[in-house]
């Protein structure tokens, strides 16, 4: 019996089928048939919940044709939380249809405290020989292997002590949730962030035993597996005695701020949901946290033209829009040029780009066109997923994708953090 939480089930009946979600949906605007639209999916879910439709393979495929970019949820005037309903339904489907082996491996990897570091270590060690063995045209989704960034030589967490102290009396103290992407791939983001906070006099605590936030697993429906990560991280991150728990990854932030409490509530774990709620109040994206400092006096000129791409998990899930832009505007001689449709999803969508490579790339192509129309030479975004997707679909290196904190660190001339 397929079922979702009572509250979400009632919401399904409040979809009045006005259709306002259709043209806000990047997937519908690519495929142009109703089954690909948010309204279509909700109506099918309604039929399944009413027992009028078997949760078939085809139903599952249609449900999978969604970036979970949440544009429909914020557009829906009736207040239907389409993304929550879709996520719950994916979890239900996983009970009936098991995931393909690659996905199961992926779940296992991200939910294991030992296996992920182990794999990343050997991945890094064998990276060059492995790449030599692969045919030159190999791709992950539509991203050529050559455009996937190299792994960090050492995980970021191992590059710093557990407590990064400051000289004199600290002006603040934060817990740093290092996402997998920063930890294993984009070390310069982590170094920039830590260096920046250090310069501002903020003590940074990096819990060494932290695990993947689990959000990528949840998006594919494997909620029960993700519970391991969620419980572990909730135990590890005690929000008392710190100003904030900071994240540099839009997805990790969305997980800690929204997904943890909501998911635990939907799964009926009340005690966990309460703890997650307390943590959530302290979680801040690095751009939000930095907004309390007067950075202007510290920054040196960094001439360039930058445009900003809004990650779904930062703009829609967390409502963070102006803070990253303000950071960029702070940098002397750095011109911020808004692109058209900065809020539109880049097409990455977690494992979406692996499951639907052509569709994802078509959506990314529109994004890249908007970026190019600004004639900027930099695109800043606070999400490693967007970064991989945009960078991976570029055909040359004229345009560079960066995290806003990397530009700030460079404008502060922090040692070892050059990004452009």
């Amino acid at each position: 019996m397929v079922t979702i939480s009572t509250q979400l089930k009632e919401q399904v009946h409040h979809c009045i089928r006005c259709g306002l979600c259709l043209n806000s949906c990047p997937v519908y605007r690519q495929l142009w048939f109703e089954g690909a639209s948010p309204r279509g999916k909700i109506q099918l879910i309604k039929k399944v919940l009413e027992g009028q439709l078997e949760p078939s393979d085809h139903f599952g495929r249609l449900l999978g044709t969604c970036l979970l970019c949440e544009t429909c949820s914020v557009t829906c005037p009736s207040g239907v939380q389409l993304d929550r309903i879709m996520k719950s339904m994916r979890a239900e489907l996983l009970k009936t249809f098991s995931a393909p082996w690659e996905k199961r491996l992926f779940f296992h990897l991200l939910s294991s405290r030992r296996l992920l570091p182990f794999t990343m270590f050997w991945g890094r060690t064998l990276e060059n020989p492995l790449r030599l063995l692969l045919p030159k045209s190999s791709q992950a989704g539509t991203i050529p292997y050559s455009r996937i960034p190299r792994l960090n030589a050492r995980p970021l967490i191992h590059q710093f002590p557990e407590v990064v102290t400051v000289d004199g009396l600290p002006k603040g103290r934060v817990l740093y949730f290092v996402g997998c992407a920063t930890n294993y791939m984009f070390e310069n983001i982590g170094r920039s962030l830590i260096g920046l906070l250090n310069r501002l006099g903020v003590e940074v605590i990096i819990p060494q035993e932290q695990m993947c936030c689990g959000f990528p697993i949840c998006l594919d429906g494997a909620r029960t597996i993700a519970l391991t990560n969620i419980r572990h991280n909730l135990d590890l991150f005690d929000p008392q005695n710190v100003d904030a728990v900071i994240v540099d990854c839009a997805t990790c932030g969305a997980a800690l701020k929204h997904e943890y409490p909501k998911l635990l509530e939907e799964m009926g774990e009340e005690a966990g949901a309460a703890a997650a709620g307390q943590l959530a109040q302290k979680v801040q994206d690095i751009s939000q946290y930095l907004s309390r400092f007067d950075l202007h006096t510290h920054l040196k000129a960094l001439p360039g033209r930058v445009t900003y791409h809004d990650p779904c998990h930062l703009l829609r899930t967390q409502g963070v829009k102006d803070d990253p832009r303000n950071l960029l505007k702070n940098i002397p001689q750095m011109e911020l040029i808004e692109m058209e449709g900065s809020e539109v999803c880049c097409g990455g969508g977690g494992t979406f780009q692996l499951d639907h490579p052509e569709l994802a790339s078509a959506i990314t192509a529109k994004k890249i066109q908007s970026i190019k129309d600004t004639q900027a030479d930099l695109v800043a975004t606070g999400c490693p997923g967007c970064r991989l997707q945009i960078h991976g679909n570029l055909t040359d290196d004229k345009l560079k994708v960066v995290h806003p904190v990397e530009l700030l660190a460079q404008a502060l001339s922090l040692r070892g953090t050059s990004c452009i």
Partner: protein, 461 residues
């Protein structure tokens, strides 16, 4: 049921991607924005006039029903397969073929979204005025079929007023053109305007030529707050009677204000009984003068407050919210039927009062929205479809509202169309000769009766 060889021929015309027959896909074409559901037997997506004509010829040869559809935002099952058969969905035939600035017209395919067209022409300084609440959803083909109106009707008219010509596929499979690209044209019967508003019963529209206007230089939105809905209604009648023509003149009652505030957080006054949203557009001096005039006028009529939007962004937010009103009321109750009775603007206030009285007597929730300048009421009747007795009370209220509207010289529907929702009222407004003539017209376009069966002319409950 469609025989296998027909399905095979459909797949041959459209390819497997554009011919859908799986139950899951069919279910997603069983509804529009109304409460009824009819399951089609297949859904096809033409990309060309030739494919459309090929489908019709197949339908003629094998005698199956076809029903055209755009985005499915209709409010009366007009684009549903009421008697089964095939849905021909134009969503993938959606190119803007030409925007001609020298002669101020555009040529589009039927699947183009209205707001996409509006944005495209505004980029080159032109303006397509018809602006239904669903402009961000609905297609141009749908707008032509339904003769969509909307919020700028009071000054600029409706879809019909902007059509220059059409390319259509007749239900016999023949392709023909109506109209021209010139501003004036009296050659023969005006078939363009006969097709427009025919609810997809006479022909399949495959290409649309529309007239465009120069884009107004500036626009100002006034938000006028009232402590009584009567005062708001009276203001509307008096604005019109005074010869002032704003671009839009929308009225919303307390319940709509509450729903919009909950969904969009705009800081609307929750204690107000009614708000008028008034747009004036044109050159800056005229806009300035008109806005001041209207503001004063409203205050004289007892408005509590007149707010003038500070920026284009604020304008935009207000109108986005207004467009979402239909969806927003679904926060209050799960189902909603929009009444669309339209009355002479001089009796607007009495009609609003009467609607509220009818709904109160029948114990149904009603939220009142109106394209007030047109006398076009949109009482949103809120209920839960799962509750049969409530549904019966809703229907009774609708009957009474219709009866009242007709008694004061109004019409059954101002812009949403008859569909199946209002088919039963048709004889109350149209005389027997009128209905007979309409059926004869339908017969001469579609002798075999394959196009959109179960439509307003032949629907029986």
């Amino acid at each position: 049921m469609l025989p296998p060889h027909v399905l095979k021929e459909l797949a041959a015309i459209f390819g497997p991607e554009r011919c859908k027959t799986a139950k899951e896909d069919l279910l997603t074409y069983s509804y529009d924005a109304c409460i009824y559901e009819f399951l089609p037997e297949a859904v096809v997506f033409p990309k060309t006039t030739e494919e459309t004509a090929a489908l019709v010829k197949l339908a003629v040869a094998h005698d199956f029903f076809i029903t055209p559809r755009g985005s499915g935002s209709g409010l009366g099952a007009e684009a549903l397969a009421k008697k089964g058969g095939i849905i021909i969905c134009f969503s993938m035939m959606n190119r803007i073929l030409e925007v001609n600035t020298a002669n101020r017209y555009a040529v589009v395919e039927p699947g183009v979204i209205i707001s996409d067209l509006q944005k495209a022409v505004e980029r080159v300084g032109l303006f397509y005025p018809p602006d239904p609440g669903s402009a961000a959803v609905a297609t141009m083909g749908g707008a032509v079929a339904m003769n969509s109106g909307g919020m700028r009707g009071v000054k600029y008219g409706v879809t019909r007023d902007y059509l220059l010509g059409l390319e259509i596929v007749l239900p016999t499979g023949e392709v023909m053109n109506t109209g021209t690209i010139t501003a004036k044209d009296v050659t023969g019967y005006d078939l363009t305007r006969l097709i427009c508003g025919s609810e997809g019963t006479l022909a399949l529209v495959t290409r649309i030529t529309i007239r465009l206007l120069p884009k107004p230089k500036t626009k100002r939105t006034l938000q006028v707050v009232y402590d009584s809905i009567e005062a708001a209604g009276d203001t509307v009648s008096k604005i019109i009677a005074a010869g002032i023509i704003p671009a839009t003149l929308e009225l919303m009652d307390r319940m709509i204000i509450k729903a919009l505030e909950e969904s969009a957080h705009l800081g609307l006054p929750l204690d107000a009984e009614a708000i008028l949203l008034i747009d004036v557009d044109g050159d800056p001096e005229t806009v300035e003068r008109q806005a001041a005039l209207i503001a004063e006028f409203c205050k004289d009529q007892g408005a509590r407050e007149v707010r003038v939007s500070a920026s284009e962004k604020e304008n935009e937010q207000l109108w986005v919210a207004r467009r979402s009103a239909f969806g927003a009321v679904a926060r209050l109750r799960p189902s909603c039927l929009i009444e669309d009775a339209t009355v002479p603007v001089s009796v607007l206030t009495e009609t609003i009062k009467k609607v509220k009285e009818i709904c109160a007597r029948n114990q149904v929730h009603v939220a009142v929205l109106a394209h007030a300048g047109d006398g076009n009421l949109h009482p949103l009747i809120l209920f839960d479809q799962r509750d049969a007795s409530e549904l019966a009370r809703v229907e009774k209220s609708m009957d009474e509202i219709v009866e009242y509207a007709l008694s004061v010289g109004g019409t059954l529907t101002g812009e949403h169309g008859i569909g199946i929702s209002k088919a039963k009222y048709l004889p109350q407004q149209l005389s027997a000769p009128s209905l007979k003539l309409m059926r004869t017209i339908k017969q001469s376009f579609d002798p075999q009766g394959i196009l959109n069966p179960g439509s307003f002319l032949d629907w029986e409950w």
